[in-house]
């Protein structure tokens, strides 16, 4: 029996030793959304006492579509701050997060999480349907094979953040 098993092991090894093509030439939507998320940070101003030190924290939940894109990003610097990526399981500690890509498979649970994040100076980005209506700040969506976004300005102001006018101008929709 072990002989047979050895055989499988070798088959598996043979499969693995093929050199796989890199996917880097492709820009699937998770990768694009990850880059968007990092870019939003450039247009966001946090209360002075919230940004501490030289680093800027970009956090994401495990289930987020961008998780893979963020985890593998080559970006290390946003403006003059160094990028600190953190994966978060909610409920969980979000200290040190400046941008947070929030996703949950259950839309109602997502609403609950967003309610607990309200008022914190963290830019909440997401790509769930009705994300900004559920209390999120920037919602990414796909339109004609391109990524677009809408902004919930009311939620942003409530949290003490400021967004550059340039970003507001690029949004498909700004909810006040």
């Amino acid at each position: 029996m072990f002989k047979q098993f050895t055989l499988w092991c070798l088959v598996a090894a043979a499969l693995g030793s093929v050199v796989f093509p890199n996917a880097s030439a492709e820009t699937g939507s998770p990768q694009l959304k990850a880059v968007y998320t990092l870019n939003f940070a450039k247009f966001t101003h946090w209360p002075d006492d919230y940004v501490q030190g030289d680093s800027l924290g970009v956090c994401y939940t495990d289930q987020a579509s961008v998780a893979q894109g963020l985890a593998n990003t080559s970006v290390t610097q946003i403006g003059d701050k160094s990028l600190r990526l953190r994966r978060i399981n909610l409920p969980g500690n979000v200290s040190g997060c400046h941008v947070f890509f929030v996703h949950d498979q259950d839309p109602q649970r997502l609403r609950r999480y967003l309610a607990t994040l309200r008022g914190l100076p963290i830019l909440l980005v997401g790509d769930s349907q009705d994300f900004v209506d559920s209390g999120g700040m920037v919602e990414l969506f796909e339109l004609n094979r391109k990524i677009r976004f809408r902004i919930n300005l009311g939620a942003i102001r409530q949290s003490g953040l400021r967004l550059d006018a340039q970003l507001l101008n690029l949004a498909v929709e700004v909810i006040r």
């Binding site: 072990f2 092991c9 070798l10 870019n39 609403r111």
Partner: protein, 680 residues
């Protein structure tokens, strides 16, 4: 172990491959350039390497759909290390890390937070477990003990079947499948999208035709199962989420049983049609409240009822379970979960023919439990230590403390290493503590029984039976070679004590003087180790082609305690009643966006002892077998799917497993099924 060397070879080979980090130029793009970029490929839904410090595997709804599985046990074969062998059209032997059987007692199964483990025999009535497969969100399969969270009987694994919240439903659906072996129909209807009170209801009916034995005789084990249920989830304010769901079911099944009867000369063991029927229902309510971003609690209450009756015995049970848990952050590095639970279960068990006694017919048992778990982030994003323990107090036994320590380390972003040590127990089933049942009659004037009277082998329950005890050691590694290729490898060592065995008891003349009774009292008489490895690999060859490999191998090295007197010639069944190697190789190809072609090849090693009870009379081994399943689906319109499912295509029929007692062996046939799914 020789195979761990092979696995080191695999890992060695892989280390030569460059780790693909998507160092993409797009990372440097500014927002205006970004807005111009087109999404070039279908999105790959991969997520970063798992941070779970356990041998956990998630079966997704897509996996289930593409596998062609039409029942829960079939879907479980998608996870590495799960042995799911079919006994009959509705009966399965499902287990993890050994100890297979129709009632595999060391595996805890939950459906949406409700335990379906029955303490009557210890195990799961698989024929009674069903959901509309289209409603499943995912199945979490945890190999290894989960006792520190889930309590007793989560010894070798925990299976958590999770359906979608009603708020997630996309719409109504009708499903029909017609086949050579099984037919089913299901209907789900949902509330309007965006409703404040999302609701779904479903009905499902399944009918399975009989198997045949190797000689082509009908096994008379067809079944019909009708089930209906509902689920609703709603928010009150923004922080309180309520869920209510329930199901009702009627099952009619039969099988051919060999019933021992010492008065039925000359055969004594009579083949009889064993018809069974079961009615069951359950209702679950859950309240979850978010207190802060790092804090929430949940309160769950469920009521579960089943009433199963066959030729031999009836088993009625009512269970009420209350479970509270609270999670909160403590400082910036610690996340605590604590909770408590209460379960009361009332059952009525009785034999319906003259085949033994079951002790007290009615019994009420209670479990009080409390647990705490602390996850400590020792170094940010790198190392986590989890300490947990559950304390359970049983009305029918002594309290147990079930601790667990887990450590997770991410040395680099694409690799995680973890280790765990845990204690778990399996509490004795009521069948083991109080029932005395006749297993077989040995005919008189034969080589084994030269005397003039038939001998009845009678298994005798032991009211003093202690829980089976496990200390489990695990080491695991997950490695993401690239965005398209991941590996998950686990080594486990399970050290058992107090495993169940049957002793050779007294041989006495029955009161009626018509036969002799050889008693076989149950005892805690076996100890030893079970160890093995499990490997899962997931390779997205191209955007439209995925290959998944799962391999597992285990070795059981058990011994009988000194002073335990097994019948002469008995082998330790727990060493040999499980296929030691399992292989699953699955290809999922999407040649066109509306066409799916799936091929699934499985190998299951032989089972040396398929009849664990009385194996000194013969062990009836089951040969190893290879199965091939296929699933082809075509969506001519976005809301219409036609599918063709083929199962066990490589041979006309083969045996996979057999029930422990009174059984006849059926063979799993090749089968075809056409399916139609309509979304509306």
């Amino acid at each position: 172990m020789s195979c761990s060397r092979n696995f080191s070879l695999i890992i060695f080979l892989f280390l030569y491959n460059p780790v693909a980090i998507a160092a993409e130029a797009i990372g440097e793009l500014d927002i205006l350039q970004l807005m111009d970029m087109e999404i070039s490929t279908a999105s790959r839904k991969t997520s970063p390497i798992s941070r779970t410090a356990a041998a956990a595997y998630i079966i997704t709804r897509d996996d289930i759909r593409r596998s062609g599985a039409t029942s829960i046990p079939e879907a479980l074969r998608l996870a590495p290390g799960v042995s799911a062998r079919q006994i009959g059209p509705s009966e399965w032997s499902v287990s993890i890390r050994g100890f297979d059987g129709r009632f595999a007692p060391k595996l805890l199964v939950l459906i949406d937070g409700r335990s379906v483990y029955t303490p009557t025999f210890g195990g799961t009535y698989w024929s009674m477990q069903d959901v509309l497969l289209e409603d499943i969100e995912r199945i979490e399969v945890v190999r290894g003990p989960g006792a520190a969270l889930w309590g007793a009987n989560a010894v070798n694994g925990v299976i958590n079947i999770i359906t979608r919240p009603a708020s997630k439903e996309l719409g109504s659906v009708a499903v029909a499948r017609i086949g050579s072996q099984e037919h089913s129909g299901g209907l789900r209807w949902t509330s309007q999208p965006g409703s404040d009170l999302p609701f779904r209801g479903y009905v499902k009916s399944t009918h399975g035709d009989s198997f045949e034995n190797s000689a082509g005789f009908d096994q008379d084990d067809d079944f019909s199962r009708h089930q209906a249920g509902f689920r609703s989830d709603w928010l009150v304010g923004e922080r309180d989420q309520f869920s209510v769901h329930g199901d009702v079911q009627r099952l009619d099944q039969s099988r051919a049983s060999i019933i021992p009867d010492p008065l039925a000369a000359p055969d004594y063991n009579i083949r009889r049609l064993n018809k069974a029927s079961a009615d069951s229902y359950n209702l679950v309510g859950r309240w979850q409240r978010s207190l802060a971003v790092d804090s929430e609690f949940s309160l769950q209450v469920y009521y579960d009822h089943y009433d199963r009756e066959d030729l031999v015995y009836l088993d009625r049970r009512d269970t009420l379970d209350v479970d509270f848990q609270h999670q909160f952050g403590y400082g910036t590095q610690q996340q605590l979960i604590w909770g408590f639970g209460y379960r009361v279960s009332n059952d009525e068990v009785n034999t319906l023919i003259n085949i033994g006694t079951v002790g007290p017919v009615r019994e009420t048992s209670e479990i009080f439990s409390a647990f705490i778990q602390d996850e400590i982030e020792i170094s940010e994003g790198k190392t986590w230590l989890t300490l947990g323990a559950k304390l359970e107090d049983y009305s029918l036994g002594d309290p147990e403390l079930l601790p667990n320590l887990r450590l997770l380390w991410l040395p680099v972003a694409n690799t995680s290493l973890w280790g765990s040590v845990a204690r778990a127990v399996r509490t004795p089933s009521q069948g083991e503590t109080r029932a005395s049942v006749d297993l077989l009659v040995l005919q008189p004037s034969t080589a084994l029984n030269p005397g003039g009277l038939p001998i009845v082998f009678q298994q005798q329950g032991n009211p003093l039976m202690a829980p089976e005890d496990l200390i489990a050691w695990e080491l695991g590694a997950r490695w993401q070679h690239s965005e398209t290729l991941t590996f998950d490898l686990t080594y486990f060592l399970n050290q058992y004590e107090n495993l169940r065995t049957s002793q050779l008891g007294s041989l006495q003349l029955a009161a009626s003087s018509t036969h002799l009774v050889q008693s076989l009292p149950i005892a805690n008489g076996i100890e030893g180790d079970v160890y093995g490895i499990e490997l899962a690999a997931d390779w997205r060859v191209q955007d439209n082609w995925r290959i998944q490999l799962a391999l597992s191998s285990l070795t059981a090295d058990l011994s009988v305690n000194p002073g335990v007197n097994q019948p002469p010639g008995t082998v330790i069944a727990d060493e040999k009643n499980t296929p030691e190697q399992l292989l699953s190789l699955r290809s999922s190809w999407t040649p066109r966006p509306n066409i799916e072609v799936d091929v699934w090849l499985r190998y299951t090693a032989e089972v040396a002892v398929a009849s664990p009870v009385l194996n000194f009379l013969g062990s009836n081994p089951i040969d190893d077998f290879v199965s091939l399943d296929t699933h082809i689906a075509w969506r001519p319109r976005p809301n219409l799917e036609l599918s063709l499912i083929g199962k066990n295509l490589l041979d006309e029929h083969h045996p996979e497993a057999e029930a422990e007692v009174w059984s006849t062996r059926g063979e799993v046939p090749r089968s075809l099924q056409v399916g139609l799914k309509f979304d509306f």
